[in-house]
């Protein structure tokens, strides 16, 4: 059940919010747990046992760790058991495709058995479980002794589709005492409707552009068409993931929780390292906190740094999907970041900001092709189109009347998608946000009116888009 579909928007979400606020404050954890389980039942009923089992395992392991908190050697046992159960289930259920006889999950399968065995949200709640146990072991959080609030934390429906990964420490206090007022609800709705608009208006349209270009012959594709296609995919990826993240944060905000920001205008970064500090922040933080940092304390030489980067990027790549292309994408990216950090940083710092941004965009866009095309042969053919337009020679490339750079189809695509491409550039940057802040500083009243007007406009646009049948396409997602 996707957030942009009719059943969720027109029934589930309004009913859930109304129900949540009708009940007294002391019951809201239980009510939210009930809502989470109903969501899971409607979205993935056969995967519910997996979620319930992991809730039980993590809860019991947490209690055991707390019981032995003064004897670390004993506390390690439930810690390792808990981590092992989480990770083994994640590997078995999500990455069975690397096993002999496993299918390629990067392509949608009609294998019913596979559909049953890949639980929705498993990439989120397993990592959240691991983070809770580790933080508990190191006394960074207090144990949650009551099952209902713990189960509510691990099964939170807003994050099930696309994250963010929320550490227990981030919302421990909110579990006991949540602040909900007009301000938080209004901010939450603002985040939600912006996220929904990003997905429906920008993400869906850019995906359409990418799918159109993807289906063309790469061997005769001009440069402009290739770049339009890859831009379409890059924006689709960003607006899908960040849109869903914003929707999750918005719903959580309405319910009284503050989820951490997950995307921070990543396409404005001036380096690959900077890009990854702004992209899927919660995943990067999790990997660094619970995988790299423990290794980092012991091993600090250059080779170790390289190996740590490769481990980090292998995990990051695999988290997006269980296909070989995701692994390759992660490894190549890790390698590029290692090269940047070890050799290129001093050079990059001396370059103008615009050049650095162009460099980052070009590399990131090129890497998205590995993510999106799955077949390396096709990726290479696409790169050839992007950088040479399949020209037989440079003279052909530069000759007048040549269609190597652009042809009628390129101009048709550019003209058709120009409006949304421009919107993507603005929405992907910080300009709109900065203008909003300035407006609020100069005239809070006018800024409020403008904000309300925009929210109502986007609400109506999203209503039309969803009711018109455009919201429920999930074919893009290979993501759990």
């Amino acid at each position: 059940m996707v957030f942009s579909g009719i059943p969720f928007l027109f029934f589930f979400l309004p009913a859930a919010v109304i129900l949540y606020f009708i009940f007294p404050v002391r019951c809201r954890n239980a009510v939210l747990l009930g809502i989470n389980l109903v969501f899971y039942l409607l979205a993935a009923p056969l995967s519910l046992p997996v979620l319930l089992a992991l809730i039980a395992v993590n809860f019991l392991c947490g209690l055991s760790i707390n019981r032995f908190r003064k004897k670390k050697e004993l506390a390690r046992i439930p810690l390792f058991i808990g981590i092992a159960v989480n990770i083994i289930l994640l590997i078995i259920l999500k990455y069975q495709f690397f096993l002999p006889g496993g299918a390629d999950h990067s392509i949608q399968t009609e294998n019913l058995f596979m559909d049953i065995l890949i639980p929705i949200g498993i990439s989120v709640y397993t990592l959240q479980g691991v983070s809770y146990l580790i933080d508990l072991y190191y006394h960074k959080v207090k144990v949650q002794k009551r099952l209902v609030p713990f189960a509510m934390y691990l099964s939170m429906f807003p994050q099930m589709i696309c994250g963010p990964i929320v550490r227990y420490s981030d919302i421990a206090e909110s579990i006991q005492h949540r602040q909900m007022n007009a301000n938080t609800i209004s901010k939450g709705y603002n985040m939600f409707i912006r996220g929904l608009s990003k997905k429906l208006i920008l993400g869906d349209t850019m995906l359409e552009l990418w799918n159109t270009v993807k289906a063309m012959e790469y061997e005769t594709m001009p440069v402009l068409t290739a770049w339009l296609g890859v831009a379409g995919f890059a924006f689709a990826v960003y607006f899908y993931f960040s849109g869903y993240s914003d929707m999750a944060r918005g719903i959580a905000k309405i319910l009284g929780f503050d989820f951490p920001m997950n995307f921070n205008a990543p396409y404005t970064a001036k380096s690959l390292t900077g890009f990854w500090r702004r992209w899927n922040i919660s995943l990067t933080v999790w990997c660094k906190s619970y995988v790299i940092s423990p290794l980092g304390k012991r091993y600090t030489n250059v080779l170790a740094t390289l190996l740590k980067l490769l481990v980090l990027w292998t995990l990051m790549g695999l988290w997006y999907g269980g296909g070989w292309n995701f692994l390759l994408w992660g490894l190549i990216f890790g390698g590029l970041i290692a090269v940047e950090q070890l050799f290129l940083s001093p050079i990059l710092e001396k370059l103008p900001g615009l050049i650095r941004r162009i460099y980052t965009i070009v590399v990131v866009f090129c890497m998205w092709l590995v993510f999106g095309l799955q077949d390396l042969t096709r990726v290479l053919a696409y790169y050839k189109a992007m950088f040479t337009g399949n020209a037989a020679s440079w003279s052909q490339f530069f000759s007048s009347g040549s269609t190597v750079f652009a042809d009628g189809t390129s101009l048709y695509l550019l003209g058709s998608y120009a409006v949304v491409l421009i919107l993507c550039i603005f929405a992907g940057g910080t300009l709109v946000h900065n203008i909003g802040l300035r407006c609020e500083h100069k005239s809070p009243r006018a800024a409020l009116v403008l904000r309300i007007a925009c929210e109502i406009f986007l609400t109506l646009v999203c209503l039309v888009a969803v009711a018109g049948g455009n919201g429920a396409d999930t074919s893009f997602f290979v993501y759990f």
Binding site: F10, S186, I201, T212, S416, V420, L448, T459, L463, G468
Partner: protein
């Protein structure tokens, strides 16, 4: 109420109101027909975990104010992206169904099946003609969208050297083997319609809001066709033209809800000097319905108005005329053949129109190619390259 709560409350109320209204509001007739697909909770649904998706599909058809919402949504799509909705191009004055390049395997198999038919009945002259759709005829008005099928190239490839222009002889020309990924006709008279249609595209030969050709378009094609079959076309002046409907918004409008023009006109051509059509036998399942006109006027002023020509699709329709001295034609075709039969049937004693796609197993016995004087295959390019039933059923017929 705090001003900050305006949008959250409005948003929640709007979404919920739409949802509830869509479930409780009285259904229109077309929605009632779709009501039959209301999703049910079952073991299979549970195992497939697509209950939410089924409900989404169901509710999107029953949303309150669906037509208005769909119209707005489509306009938004055209503004934000390509001028195309549900695979229909939105041009300035017409809607055109997109015909994309497809895998040539189906077309090649169909061509082989047609060749097999001709080989199976060596004494039967077999004619063949492919009809380019509006996407090909109005190609110069189409946007430079990718993956559009080059229908002329497909037609030329299939025809090979067997193409016949208007100046035809009765004997088939020498045909050279020419490799084509869509297959090439062998010992079959291929009749070119494309050139004549392109030359007359300024006339209203295709509807603006439907993918079909008009009666005038069918007449233009008939002129080329019947000349290619060795006869002379009946002058248009000898027909009474009845403007049966003037405000038709066809299938492409239903897909897009975007109007172009003031509506199409549906014309019926009847032979003025005398009544030639004697009997029309419609074979539906095991029953035969006998009528005396090619026109099913009950379809006029409905969304399926183009079914005024011979009614809805069926496997076999037999048209008998008072031209007892003339020949019998066995016609294999699709929906494009139906308006053309207004003219073509005036040259034959009997025309048996076979729609292979709708042909049922008990209807094969109605067709004996040995009883006919000629056979004609008449398909739109779009159907010919995608219809898999043609091969299967034609081979069954020949066996």
């Amino acid at each position: 109420m705090n001003k900050k709560m305006i949008s959250p409350v409005l948003g929640c109320a709007l979404f919920l109101a739409f949802g509830i209204a869509s479930v409780v509001a009285p259904q229109t007739k077309s929605q009632k027909e779709e009501l039959a697909s209301m999703p049910k909770l079952s073991v299979e649904t549970l195992l497939r975990q697509d209950l939410a998706q089924q409900w989404n599909d169901y509710l999107s058809k029953h949303i309150v104010g669906r037509e208005v919402i769909q119209k707005l949504s489509n306009q938004m799509t055209v503004f934000l992206s390509a001028p195309k909705v549900n695979d229909v191009f939105i041009l300035e004055d017409r809607l055109i169904q997109n015909v994309s390049s497809v895998n040539p395997v189906t077309a090649k198999r169909n061509t082989e099946a047609v060749n097999f038919f001709a080989q199976s009945y060596p004494d039967l002259p077999v004619y063949f003609s492919l009809i380019p759709t509006a996407a090909a005829v109005y190609q110069d008005e189409m946007p430079a969208a990718p993956n559009l099928m080059d229908q002329v190239a497909v037609i030329n490839g299939i025809y090979g050297d067997g193409r016949q222009q208007n100046n035809l002889s009765n004997s088939p020309p020498e045909q050279e083997e020419k490799p084509s990924e869509y297959g090439t006709l062998e010992n079959i008279y291929a009749i070119d319609l494309h050139t004549f249609l392109m030359a007359n595209k300024q006339q209203e030969i295709f509807y603006h809001t439907d993918s079909m050709w008009t009666s005038l378009g069918a007449y233009n094609a008939y002129s080329s066709l019947v000349t290619g079959m060795g006869d002379s076309a009946i002058s248009k002046d000898l027909f009474n033209i009845e403007h049966a409907q003037t405000d038709y918004y066809g299938g492409l409008y239903e897909k897009t809800l975007i109007k172009r023009g003031d509506g199409d006109g549906i014309d019926l051509y009847t032979h003025a000097p005398d009544q030639v059509i004697e009997l029309v036998k419609c074979y539906e399942g095991g029953n035969v319905k006998e009528l005396y006109s090619l026109y099913f006027e009950e379809y006029l002023n409905t969304p399926q108005a183009t079914n005024v020509f011979l009614g809805a699709d069926r496997g076999v329709t037999e048209i008998e005329t008072n031209l007892k001295s003339e020949h019998k034609l066995l016609l294999f075709g699709d929906e494009y053949s139906k308006p053309l039969l207004q003219f073509l049937s005036l040259h034959f004693q009997t025309v048996t129109f076979v729609n292979l796609n709708a042909l049922t197993s008990d209807q094969y016995q109605l067709i004996d190619p040995d009883e006919y004087d000629s056979a004609l295959f008449l398909y739109s390019v779009e159907n010919y390259v995608s219809d898999t039933s043609l091969t299967v059923k034609l081979q069954q017929l020949c066996s």
